[in-house]
Symmetry: C2
Subunit: 307 residues, 2 copies
């Protein structure tokens, strides 16, 4: 049992991670603004209401903790794209400050939510391993790669251990579609509201979708080991085109989607499927919730909210 | 003949670049604080005194220019190491702002002074090509890699062409030793002042030293072409140990150095020698000033200043 602080633990991925950590018997604290009520379902979690930009709040939260999960992003891919300098000043700079406070607090290991979906940029066809040369195009992913660099620096300079998770495209309940992040909740919300959905490009864009509860289990599992690598791809390892996705959504919801096609933005890459063999070799295999079942569960929540 | 603006053109590398561009017949403007008098020797250069942090200054300087050389660094490896967040707020954020202004001004191509000496981090033995996976450890290099990422973003998003030069370890006259950057000027200055020199580690650390005038010629040469790659290593392609360097300095200066050995800092990598075949295949071969001759020229300046 470890003392875990999840910064951003009330967010989409963070809240599922909290539940997975509690399931494994860890003592979990969550640092978050809690601006929209509690997202995780576990009991016995210590909720620390605070502002990531407030140094005193962050320092107080870190005190006495063993593991730090940095799962807070002050920006989304969409907001970072609109103004890269906001991302630099808030996400990158604040993450470095967080790491400084983690050193002060004697944290044993930092786990960082990086991005597998965007960090690699355009790559040759096939699944992408951690040895591929990252070529991020979006400011969001450029910032994540920079933070991975600072993790390396803090390890060398201050002996702060860390692991970065390059997570593909997690989806599932609790994901807010108003963040403009996540094609699945955006599609489902538009569907529930009787609106058309916007497809970027011809539908051939491929993504590695992973049901968020599966992703959270993979992440929480690493706490029980001494990780051998600084970076792990976290994904299903399976690719689906946007056209396939639309087909699955139609089937699950029994509604024909009204698809509006617009050109693919220049900063969207064609294909991202992660090679997850590094993780599997070290931490074992896991069964994944199939895309149709994951969408069914997400749709239950989306449709339920509107009922 | 092109209209070139060199931001940071009164600095060490920048001023040699200015001279090389003027030699090639280009129309050169320099944007710099000029805090310590003029460094370049060329005539006919338009000097624009301004502050990189002042948006109006930067925008005015960019107006009517064709090529932008971003050769200004608000930090050095040493100052960035002391406080990474300063580097993030000044270098990274300000570079993104510069690129935004470059788009506004209709700049044809940006040339960026990245670092080949520090961007790769620890690598397998042998010379390092642009295809190696960068693993920068120092905040200075993490910042440079992030800026390379933003160049990619501006290319995709706004069609702003750019080239990043990963320059190894340039040395030569005009390099200020008080910046704590550059082992050669630091050694020569200490020698001239009758002080001992500090060697990090056992002397086996290997670096790719390039005489600054050679480096500047390689850079200026690219202006005449349509570059095929976004990134080029710029170096001599030859490695020298610190022990060898001390031997060459002794020989050239005819002074026995008083060497003080201290442990190698954790963020110093053991070996950096660049594979420069990408540059040579595209832009041709160049003769290099040998290390002993380069040190002789540098020593002439150092000793001359004190005489």
């Amino acid at each position: 049992m470890a003392k875990c602080l999840v910064v951003g633990g009330n967010g989409f991925l963070g809240s599922w991670l909290v539940d997975a950590l509690v399931d494994q018997g860890h003592e979990v604290s969550v640092f978050d603004r809690f601006s929209s009520g509690q997202s995780y379902i576990s009991t016995g979690v210590r909720a620390i209401v605070g502002d990531f930009m407030n140094h005193a709040h962050v320092r107080a939260a870190l005190s006495g903790q063993e593991y730090l999960f940095h799962f807070l992003s002050a920006t989304t891919p969409a907001t970072a794209e609109d103004d890269p300098t906001i991302d630099i000043r808030t996400n990158i700079a604040s993450s470095v400050e967080l790491l400084e406070f983690a050193v002060e607090a004697g944290i044993s290991r930092v786990f960082f939510a990086s991005t597998g979906g965007a960090i690699y940029g355009e790559q040759a066809p096939g699944s992408i391993s951690e040895l591929a040369l990252p070529a991020p195009i979006s400011p969001y992913a450029i910032g994540k790669l920079a933070i991975e660099g600072y993790l390396r620096y803090f390890q060398k300079k201050h002996g702060l251990n860390s692991v970065a998770f390059r997570i593909s495209n997690p989806y599932g309940p609790r994901q807010k579609s108003n963040n403009k992040q996540g094609v699945i909740p955006i599609f489902l919300n538009n569907l529930a509201a009787g609106r058309s959905v916007v497809q970027y490009g011809d539908g051939s864009m491929v993504r590695d979708f992973i049901y968020v509860e599966d992703a959270a289990k993979l992440l929480a599992n690493v706490v029980n080991y001494e990780p051998r690598h600084p970076v792990y791809n976290i994904g299903s390892g399976e690719g689906h085109t946007i056209a396939e996705l639309i087909g699955v959504i139609s089937q699950v919801t029994e509604v024909e989607l009204d698809v509006q096609v617009v050109p693919q933005p220049s900063t969207f890459v064609d294909r991202v499927v992660l090679d997850t063999s590094r993780y599997r070799a070290e931490f074992g295999e896991q069964q994944f919730v199939p895309l149709s079942e994951g969408i069914r569960r997400t749709w239950l929540e989306t449709a339920g909210k509107r009922a």
